[in-house]
Symmetry: D2
Subunit: 235 residues, 4 copies
């Protein structure tokens, strides 16, 4: 008996990678894929490699309200998943790949994401989906907020020190991420000739992944640590 | 006594590279730089590495009509240099880095560039600026049309065979070019995650550099050869 | 009930990739891995990512003679797999990832690989392991010779034309391969500063994959076609 | 009247780049190039792009003792330039591109380079060749030790803070360098498939460029600062 799953935001880089994995999964049936600009197109039209694997078409995001699958993955830019997720609560299992429900503090959210959260009643309800730390809770949770890229690299590296109360007073974190992390929309800063074979620092000290790292390390340390990323680089 | 030069289209990749070279040249004085979207800005605002080298600002392209320098380089997309160059004829030396005046046939131009040439009276007036072939003519010419990237790689490689009448009946050319050749404007096809560490064929058999190669090789062979690029790749 | 498999040549790039896939396979049990220079080491010492996945150590290649698994993969340089494979014939299923048993002509082998084949009695006994062409035979065969990289790209692209007798008299093939295809041993030609962001042609017209392509297309066309790769590029 | 110059170690990446620049320099005449493994070969045999620019051949390093040019550049691995430079002292101007004469402390040298310096009487005699800091001294010096790659990036960035006594108690430096910095000799760590599109930390806290940075910043600060590179990355 296969589990039926849907993906909201299936045409971005993250959603497409997820889709490819789920289409191969022996115990999963992909029921619906929802997308914004790709709505109405066949998946195969955008991803020729999947032409023999699925007949599905992208449905408009609005149609997700009537979704009949057991699990929905949400792979939308931040600010967008908070609009779509409330309607799924209590109806199915939700796995959010975006940043909207990782933080447990509405203040930290508005400060770092520079906008008010529109589903504040759900803040703090998701399990932080890092298997190495929360494997047991993830299994039984019906709402999982998956970690960001920089937090994954920083939290896993610092977790043993945090758990042993050995974090020094200040920790500098330098993480490097690929340009695909900035998504599918071309921009001058991620244009090939500008970004190739190079790195550049961005959002130094203000990156929205900062409070996510602080939050996870505070849980591990058993006390509030408010440290700061000095730098995040970007190749 | 330095030669005064100006650049029309100085903020694109080609124009900026040219500008950097000319600013260092011991016998050249850069008098004016003209640009479209960058008009009004200091060069140093876009190219911090030139901050200590020049105080110039980009002037609007329209101002090029009053240019008072001895030589003007034109580094504009095709279709644009044919609008600006007629006003310079007879007044100064012109070196065009674009494709508008390389071909000697208005028909070939309209077929491959898919638009009518708006300065047909100047077609065939420029010397094709490939020093290995036309070094003498370039020196005395007041209007030079510099070669494209793919033609340079193909013509120089095939020139000895063409001159010796040894070109086989059909020649397949596979040229690879960097993404910067597509210019400064971001697009989905040249977005970093799509283009990195990969190649893709484009404009197979229809690339606008095809007649430029055919024309140069025909001159060398002393007879009309109309061959065709089979493929042009693009990393 | 899992199938037991072994890998001879498990520490090269190909063997290590294969090992990673097999260790995750739900119906496979990796029984032994054999290697030359890595013999005696734990797999985890060379591949830290597999530390929690396997306790196996590399055994010396000589020990493969006593191998007790049902299937053996051979992932050795050409010239090496012909030494080790004869002892497995009739005892277990063999899947060779190298070039020694792809060709059905000893002459073609010696001409392109520039050495005499030392197991000539086995030439022509392996099924060519290209699933798109030989899926049925592969399933029942106990000796499979997997295709090379360039042949895979060329044969799959040209197969429809060959089967429809539409191959033109001469076919030029330009294939580009990654540097990892040249294996794990550093060399001047594949040194990073020499190879990065560049391509270079090698073995033009003499590459050992040429007869492999000719052979597969001849089978598809139903007649002998002896064409030639004009070029193989190498990024 | 051109200045005659020679290069000892002209076939490595640094020496070859230098050679290309000097061959184009209007006021320089390259008199001799010396090399180890390339001795006896024409430059053009190793660098085809220079075939029309020079007729010179590499001479053996031993022949440098009889060098008759006014300036000698030394571009040898550390440990090697200290063997060759003493014979040039007092006879000609020396510009060393290696690390042997940058440090003013024999102790720091032996600790970080892990060997005894064999020309201790010359330690401290060279001007540190960073034009932004020592432009005046460089002009009149007959012995210049050019800076390393990481020190250039770190010293120029921190110089204003050091000069203003604003360096914090601890400074973490993360520098990224290209693989070509490791030279022309292939090795497993710099093999293309291992190094491409990746970074890896090396010599953390022990890199031989550490004391070079400390020394330059101490001069600027007017007091001894012994800080430490936390990390140096390597793409």
């Amino acid at each position: 008996m296969k589990t039926t799953v849907s993906i909201a935001g299936a045409s971005g880089y993250t959603g497409a990678e997820l889709l490819t994995l789920l289409l191969r999964h022996p115990n999963v049936e992909v029921a619906h894929v929802y997308a914004h600009t790709s709505a109405g197109k066949k998946i195969a039209a955008e991803r020729p490699a999947l032409a023999k694997v699925t007949e599905l078409s992208y449905e408009p995001l609005d149609a997700a309200g009537n979704d009949d699958s057991e699990v929905v993955f949400v792979s939308l830019p931040h600010g967008e998943s908070q609009k779509i997720i409330p309607q799924f609560i209590g109806k199915k299992r939700i796995i959010d790949l975006g940043g909207d429900f990782r933080l447990r503090s509405a203040d930290a959210y508005s400060r770092y994401y520079r906008s008010e959260h529109t589903a504040q009643e759900l803040i703090g309800h998701a399990v932080y989906g890092m298997p190495e730390l929360n494997g047991v809770e993830i299994k039984s949770s019906s709402f999982v907020a998956n970690p960001g890229c920089y937090p994954t690299s920083a939290i896993l590296a610092l977790a043993p020190l945090a758990a042993a109360q050995l974090l020094p007073p200040r920790v500098g974190i330098v993480s490097l991420s690929g340009v695909s992390g900035a998504g599918k929309t071309p921009s001058p800063a991620t244009h090939f000739p500008e970004a190739n074979e190079s790195v550049s620092a961005y959002k130094v000290g203000t990156h929205q992944h900062t409070p996510e790292i602080e939050q996870a390390l505070s849980v591990l340390a058993g006390s509030d640590i408010t440290r700061r990323l000095y730098r995040i680089c970007f190749p």
